[in-house]
């Protein structure tokens, strides 16, 4: 029964878990490690899955905590390793985006404050409800709404600037 729940609830969520991790750590290798760690962790407690109401938001919260742990650990990691990681960080997904002339959009999203970027991702890409986002990010629903509105406004402003002057910033 618990294995069935794991296969039905968690495995389909793994793509979203990976995208969410990637939006936080910006490094495909690290994001993959995060998701693999989380899947192992969830597998170990699969007997409790029946008690969980919103598996999606719950799994995302586990991903979020693991990402924060990873980022904290990285802060103290060997500098050389960090340099290597920076140099190898060239995911195919980003290449596809760059070649698609959407660089301006990536630039705008990169300038968003972390919280806004995170909330924006969960709403626009993962299509979570305000309540689910609030639970995942430990925010209030109104905080979530405000952050999404601000993020969208920045994107819209950048679009209007490009239309008017041909540049985003």
């Amino acid at each position: 029964m618990s294995t069935k729940l794991y296969n039905e609830l968690i495995i389909p969520a793994s793509d979203g878990m990976y995208r969410y991790a990637l939006s936080i750590v910006h490094e495909p290798e690290t994001a993959r490690d995060v998701v693999q760690d989380c899947l192992a962790k969830i597998w170990n407690i699969r007997n409790d899955l029946s008690k969980i109401e919103k598996a999606n938001a719950w799994a995302f919260r586990i991903v979020r905590n693991r990402c924060i742990e990873m980022l904290r650990r990285d802060r103290y990691a060997d500098l050389d390793e960090k340099v290597v990681n920076l140099q190898v960080s060239n995911p195919a997904d980003q290449e596809a985006i760059n070649t698609d002339q959407m660089v301006w959009l990536k630039d705008v999203l990169d300038t968003l404050p972390k919280k806004q970027r995170e909330v924006f991702h969960l709403r626009e890409v993962e299509e979570l409800s305000y309540q689910e986002i609030a639970e995942t990010c430990e925010l209030t629903e109104s905080d979530v709404k405000v952050n999404i509105h601000r993020a969208r406004k920045k994107v819209k402003d950048a679009m209007q600037k490009i239309d008017a002057y041909g540049i985003a910033n």
């Binding site: 990976y18 290798e29 993959r32 998701v35 997904d93 985006i97 698609d100 301006w104 509105h149 679009m159």
Partner: protein
């Protein structure tokens, strides 16, 4: 007068849409792709949604090259060391002190062997002498 979809798009940018309405906006841009920044934006979101989790660890090319280079380097070093060792006499002694000691021991061994041989030779001479004396004495008879 704005069309219903235009009103919905405006609502979207104002952050007032529900999830369902947002899905309608996204579907609109999917079926009506345009060469506009707005259209690019929704295409970008769709692209983001298509990113999949691949549990297989893809080795990045740089790391693969590094490990290949490291393997070759280790192999070459091992080969060089093995060749160097095989050219050497396995009984050769590198330390001159030790070599001197070994030579001295070998010479001592030869010396003691020679001395032992000499003592037997002396005994043989004695026997031969006695034999000669006996021979001389027996001849006149």
């Amino acid at each position: 007068m704005e069309s219903p979809i235009e009103q919905l798009i405006e609502k979207y940018w104002n952050g007032e849409t529900t999830l369902e309405e947002e899905k309608r906006v996204k579907a609109h841009f999917k079926t009506n792709p345009a060469l506009s920044n707005e259209s690019d934006y929704f295409r970008f979101l769709k692209k983001e949604q298509e990113i999949k989790f691949d549990p297989k660890v893809k080795k990045n090319s740089r790391r693969t090259w590094l490990s290949a280079a490291a393997t070759v380097a280790v192999g070459l070093t091992t080969a060089a060391l093995v060749l160097q060792e095989s050219n050497k006499d396995p009984f050769a002694i590198e330390d001159p002190e030790k070599a001197l000691e070994e030579t001295r021991r070998a010479l001592m061994m030869i010396g003691s062997g020679l001395n032992e041989g000499q003592s037997y030779a002396l005994e043989l001479t004695k026997i031969n002498k006695a034999k000669e004396e006996l021979k001389e004495e027996s001849e006149p008879l």
